[in-house]
């Protein structure tokens, strides 16, 4: 950008002809606004205004049959929080755990694709996004087949005589309270496994975009200076990959917090997440103020989280 402006700086003597195409910004200052208008209007009317309507709904009292009136009833928030804080906290914990898991799994995969896959790079990238092509509800249901008591995982370990690995894994999960009995399915583990699975590509793609640009010679230089692989990772690779990590974390944590598909399809009544509560309050209990208050609390939590992150990364980089 800067180079081309510099190169074009000395004004070449031009024959007097209408300046076309070159400088639209001088002639029609309204053009960008016309281009922006429909799209931005759509976002304002159907994204921003609903947020106001959500805030308003959460402060109203009344019921579905007799209508609602705005009474600035902040007690709804206190009631909603005191009733549903376990689900809210659980959502944050599950989403955070899943985010850490996607990072732990996604980093080696992104590194592998970026630097070790050779000519299979594009093929592997397609495979990473390929799951998106099948409805993710269907794919989440497939985990029931895999994790079930007589499911594919159990059958596979029995067939290869590696049951001891599976039972070892299970007792590890039990010590962390991620499963309560011998069952993998319908447990916190299954929900987190599903969340991790569903959002893994959202972590891998930004990480890949970042790691691909990372100059391998820096890692070699670290090695030449007697850094161990662990030190090279901590002092060189990790700091340089932070923008990718930040983007991936946002793309994983935010949707995972609000998700309730995994907790419904793979969890139990003990794994209810906040999205499930909002859905039920809105669509079945029809307690709109409570539902709106919960939704707004979730939004505020996410905004607080994003603002902290965006301060570090900048919006232009993320968008």
């Amino acid at each position: 950008m800067a180079v081309s402006t510099l190169a074009g700086a000395p004004p070449a003597p031009q024959p007097p002809q209408p300046e076309e195409g070159k400088r639209p910004r001088r002639r029609g200052a309204y053009v960008p606004y016309l281009l922006l208008l429909p799209g931005m209007l759509w976002l304002v009317v159907f994204f921003l205004v609903p947020m106001l309507s959500l805030a308003s709904q959460s402060l109203q009292t009344g019921d579905v049959d007799n209508g609602y009136a705005l009474t600035f009833n902040f007690a709804t928030y206190a009631d909603a929080l005191s009733t549903y804080w376990p689900q809210l906290l659980r959502s944050l914990i599950y989403a955070a755990t899943a985010t850490v898991a996607t990072l732990a799994l996604g980093f080696p995969l992104a590194w592998f694709i970026a630097h070790r896959s050779g000519r299979y790079k594009n093929f592997l990238l397609v495979l990473v996004i390929a799951p998106f092509f099948t409805s993710f509800l269907i794919r989440t249901l497939a985990w029931q087949t895999i994790l079930g008591d007589t499911g594919l995982l159990a059958q596979f370990t029995a067939f290869t005589h590696t049951d001891f690995l599976l039972s070892g894994f299970k007792s590890l999960l039990r010590t962390f309270g991620l499963i309560s009995n011998d069952q993998l399915l319908f447990s916190p583990f299954a929900v987190i496994c599903g969340l991790t699975y569903n959002f893994l590509p959202f972590m891998v793609l930004p990480l890949y975009a970042n790691l691909e640009r990372l100059d391998q010679r820096l890692v070699e230089a670290a090695g030449d200076l007697y850094a161990s692989p662990v030190q090279a990772f901590r002092r060189v690779i990790w700091p340089l990959s932070l923008p990718g990590v930040v983007a991936g974390t946002l793309l994983t944590f935010i949707p995972a917090t609000g998700d309730y598909i995994n907790s419904v399809l793979l969890g139990s009544t003990q794994t209810t997440m906040i999205g499930q509560v909002i859905d039920a309050q809105f669509l079945r209990v029809l307690d709109y103020p409570t539902a709106a208050a919960l939704s707004f609390i979730l939004l505020l939590l996410i905004v607080a989280f994003v603002v902290t992150y965006v301060r570090r990364a900048g919006t232009e980089e993320l968008v």
Binding site: G21, F46, F47, S53, Q57, T140, P255
Partner: protein
């Protein structure tokens, strides 16, 4: 041991790849299952029944049709509106740029359940009945940002000298746009539209808030089936979608490499 250490990244990478792809293999394999009960979670016996009778379960193909219809309209609308915004962002200086970027970023950073429920409160407050139209409005809304980001990246990577060359060769603004700019940005628009379509087609949470019992999309149908009993046909649709999309990607790659070969 040294071999293991050198290839550790590859081994872990391939294992993670397996984790990503395993459910897809299960979906494909179980489309040939003849389940014993109402749920298609346990292997029983091999069968082509679901493949020869895809629309055999009531309601599924209707929901599929609705999803296709909504996906096409929403992605095309989002593509047009989003491309305009992307050009404005990529080509012009204007005030409120930071605000515009923020407004584009926010929908991507908001949990679906918040977007879905807030739109529902708007529709309730305005007295608008939910249904096909409200689903469309919602889908265009959340697809827009993704189209803008995809197309904007393409516009930003355009070499401005190509357009300068066109105008040096006496092409007017319209000609330059139609013959140079648009063909160069088109792959980005196509990618953005496909992304929007797949987001729209796959969306459950936002749709569920803004749908009515008479407007059941395919994901909503699957959701209901997960409670009532999952017909094998769901897996057939999943398999067709997976293979079809893979085919589109492969064709796109081939076209792309052929074109870049031509340019070189």
């Amino acid at each position: 041991m040294a071999w293991l250490r050198r290839h550790l990244v590859i081994i872990v990478g391939l294992l993670v790849m397996l984790y990503i792809l395993a459910p897809n293999f299960v979906v494909i394999a179980f489309s040939f299952n003849n389940p014993a009960g109402r749920f298609n979670y346990q292997w029983n016996q091999f069968s082509f029944d679901a493949w020869t009778n895809v629309c055999g379960v009531p309601g599924m193909c209707d929901s599929l049709g609705l999803s296709l219809q909504i996906g096409i309209i929403a992605s095309l609308t989002a593509a047009v509106l989003g491309t305009m915004v992307a050009f404005a962002l990529g080509r012009y200086r204007f005030r409120a740029r930071a605000g515009t970027n923020l407004l584009i970023f926010l929908p991507m950073a908001t949990p679906e359940v918040v977007m879905g429920s807030s739109l529902l409160t708007l529709f309730i407050a305005m007295g608008i009945p939910t249904g096909r139209t409200t689903i469309l409005i919602a889908h265009i809304m959340f697809c827009l940002s993704f189209v803008i980001v995809t197309v904007k990246a393409r516009v930003a990577s355009l070499d401005p000298r190509l357009e300068q060359a066109a105008s040096d060769l006496y092409a007017n603004e319209v000609q330059t746009f139609l013959k140079v700019t648009f063909p160069l940005v088109a792959p980005g628009i196509a990618a953005g539209t496909l992304l929007a379509f797949s987001l729209s087609f796959d969306d459950f949470i936002i749709t569920n808030f803004n749908a009515s019992p008479s407007s059941v999309t395919f994901p909503m149908y699957v959701w209901g089936a997960a409670q009532r009993g999952t017909p094998v046909q769901i897996n057939v649709i999943g398999t067709i979608m997976f293979l079809g999309a893979l085919a589109i990607v492969v064709i796109g790659q081939v076209l792309n490499s052929r074109r870049s070969r031509q340019i070189v």
